[in-house]
Symmetry: C2
Subunit: 417 residues, 2 copies
DNA sequence: TGGCGGATCTCAGTCACGTATTCCCCTAAA
DNA sequence: TTTAGGGGAATACGTGACTGAGATCCGCCA
């Protein structure tokens, strides 16, 4: 079970690695700029000489990852030629495997969704059948999108945890019965012929934010994923933190309410037992705010129940408002634990349930967080909602591929095995 | 208060940086080996060619950071010449500024303490007086140690948080009254003429573990610092996590006991209010296990009271054992929150109070942690006590300098400003 | 139309790593 | 004692990425 990982000594680097790394640095700078950059600006930003920038730009132009997009001349002198990402320079596929629904997307280089599809997860959730369904869906998506298959960098898969990153397996997730140690990565790689990456859904969402989230996806932040469960993705200094086995971000058993309901872990008031949507809906049903006709334990029912709870709150139902507001207090406590542990500068909220709660949460959480922040006198913590939308899971999955291929990760510099 | 940090784009790298980085990689490999490495072994480990290793070895030999230490020939062929760290190749000074006591050390390159001193923190804790005392102490220590001042790489300072890493200031720590925004780094740099680094005590302890802790200081781990308060230092993939302002590792308000005593944060059963030594001693006094003659709120009194509590437990006092054991359960819960959030592979315990509790904690915590670990089915979490000893704070402070100067941090590759 | 300024490119130059070769040192057998 | 052989380490040369200086290109302005 516990294989001993021998301490992997840090490996050196060499010239080609350095060249590739600088290429990704420049691409990253262009990507993060709004509206492109000129070569001189790039030189200032990344600290390399103009000549080096020119050389690398040429490589990027040859690969068609960037394009020259017009000139920008203000005063005298030769106007700067603006370099911009070529959206069609590369594509990535992403799949979010959720217990209820499988979402797939084709993403272009700038992170825009080219094509999108959604199917219900095959009943019984037999792994083989689900994998076959995904492979089918992917093939269809590639055809429908009309994208040049040669430009597809790979397939990213976002799965609920726990996972084993080394093996590329999903390890017995609570809501997918019979999914113990399913070799998702290898199976899908074989079925689709694409290079495949598997990661946890919350991590994928954080990667989506770094790639397609604009300014809020830079630096060090925590992505709070509000889904059927609550988890978080962690990004420190522009690099995603995955943990030893890819399972970082498990915050379900942080205690947020000493007076809360009992949890299956034996304690009381964990995140998991006191502020996930399912619990809020149950509470509302108990209080008679919602009719408890259906037992809303399955994904879609919860989502629907939660929507009605929010509707009630929006139409002024005090009890509904109280439930949501209390959950904001509890979530803020969990967030504070994470931000105090990691001292990040920003918290980004997102996930399928986020849209409905965003207004109330954004109103309350910043103050709650500030009050509980250990470093409050040194720096504030920004609280924002993601701009990526409901499909963060699938988009993030695709971004896993882009990140792996094009992001300036320190890891890229190091020689491997 | 909150200065906006503009997103710093990742900067490129160049040839000299690469060379320096590879040098630190090799030094790191030698440092982490037990008993030195030959050039061929180095080539295998770091992945560079034997020639490159030879070239870099020469640079390291010229700088006298390493020495050739004998040969190792087993079969036919030329025997390997072993390269070892030269302990006298470089020295670093470390100071731990504690509310009660100021510990200073001179460390050599292998992390051994060359000289050591301890003075009580000047009463009234006026910052200027404390800084002057430290500067005096440092000067004395350098003279007494007989170390060549030219070989001293710098001065590290470990301070209780919160701190502001950019400014090098200590920001209003709870136990040092009147220490708001004290420019510790600049003041000590000026007073001693040494390059000075300031960091939080728990972070320093984690750095000590990476530098002087042997195998348990590699990879990804959390260092639990058991002091007057409980904090943690975080190391992911051999690099220390400091956070935006250097305040990562604040875990005092993680709730570990829903039935615990109220905390100044308004909730109940935080780490800070239920399992720090001061609380355990108070509890023992209340139960009559210890005579509550002195009100043990000051550092030394707490330490003494805690020692007597441990004595009682060791001599079989059931109630004393119960207090310690319960604290182990609570600490384990806090640790689980952190390890689940970060998915690390190891927890290292240390700090001034650790020695007395180590036996009971090491007996109980591994099982408790495994039971609460989200990734338990994928990998276990190793639980160990540090080998660094009581002075981790000061030793870690000195290691800050060594780490900054010699560790293969990814940051070192990047061009600056 | 010519001058000017700024951006970009060309062309060496430098430096670190990689490959092939040679040198050196030790073991072991004749 | 001598010699063959094997493996580590150094030397020489080649490659490739970044840097610096000057040339070139481009558009504005007089």
């Amino acid at each position: 079970m516990t294989e001993i990982r021998q301490p992997t000594p840090r490996r050196g680097t060499n010239l080609p690695r350095m060249g590739d790394f600088n290429l990704t640095v420049i691409l990253d700078a262009i990507r993060r700029s709004s509206g492109g950059l000129s070569r001189v600006e790039l030189a200032q930003i990344v600290g390399l000489s103009p000549q080096t920038i020119s050389n690398i730009s040429r490589r990027l132009l040859d690969q068609r990852l960037i394009v020259e997009a017009g000139k920008e001349g203000s005063g005298p002198g030769k106007p700067r030629t603006i370099l911009r990402l070529n959206p069609a320079g590369m594509y990535a596929l992403g799949v979010h495997v959720d217990p209820a629904v499988i979402t797939s997307v084709v993403l272009d280089l700038v992170g825009d969704v080219v094509k999108h599809s959604r199917i219900p997860t095959p009943a019984g959730s037999n792994p083989q059948r689900v994998i076959a369904a995904i492979a089918d869906e992917i093939k269809g998506l590639i055809e429908d999108s009309g994208v040049d298959p040669g430009k597809i960098a790979g397939l990213g898969v976002a799965a609920p945890g726990p996972i084993d990153l080394d093996e590329g397996t999903v390890v017995d997730p609570p809501l997918l019965v019979g999914w113990d140690r399913v070799y998702l990565r290898d199976a899908l790689a074989e079925a689709t012929g694409l290079e495949t990456l598997v990661d946890k859904d919350v991590t994928s969402a954080a990667v989506a934010e770094t790639w397609a989230g604009g300014a809020s996806g830079t630096g060090s932040f925590v992505f709070m994923y509000m889904g059927t469960g609550i988890g978080c993705g962690i990004v420190l200094n522009d690099e995603v933190v995955r943990g030893t086995s890819g399972n970082a971000g498990e915050i379900g058993h942080i205690i947020v309410d000493p007076d809360g309901p009992p949890c299956d872990c034996g304690l009381r008031g964990c995140v998991k037992s006191s502020c996930i949507p399912q619990v809020l809906v149950a509470e509302a049903e108990e209080q008679g705010i919602l009719d408890g006709g259906r037992k809303g334990t399955e994904g879609p029912e919860v989502q629907e129940g939660f929507a009605r709870l929010c509707d009630a709150a929006d139409s002024g139902d005090e009890r509904a408002i109280a439930i949501i507001d209390k959950s904001a207090v509890l979530v803020a406590r969990a967030v504070a634990v994470v931000t105090n542990t990691l001292d990040v500068e920003r918290v980004v909220f997102g996930g399928p349930f986020w849209a409905r709660m965003s207004e109330r949460y954004l109103e309350r959480i910043p103050a709650l967080l500030a009050a509980n922040s250990a470093a409050n006198s040194i720096h504030g913590i920004e609280v924002v909602g993601t701009g990526v939308g409901e499909d963060v899971g699938a988009i993030g999955a695709a971004c896993l591929v882009l990140e792996h291929t094009l992001a300036p990760r320190a890891q890229r510099l190091l020689l491997e095995g």
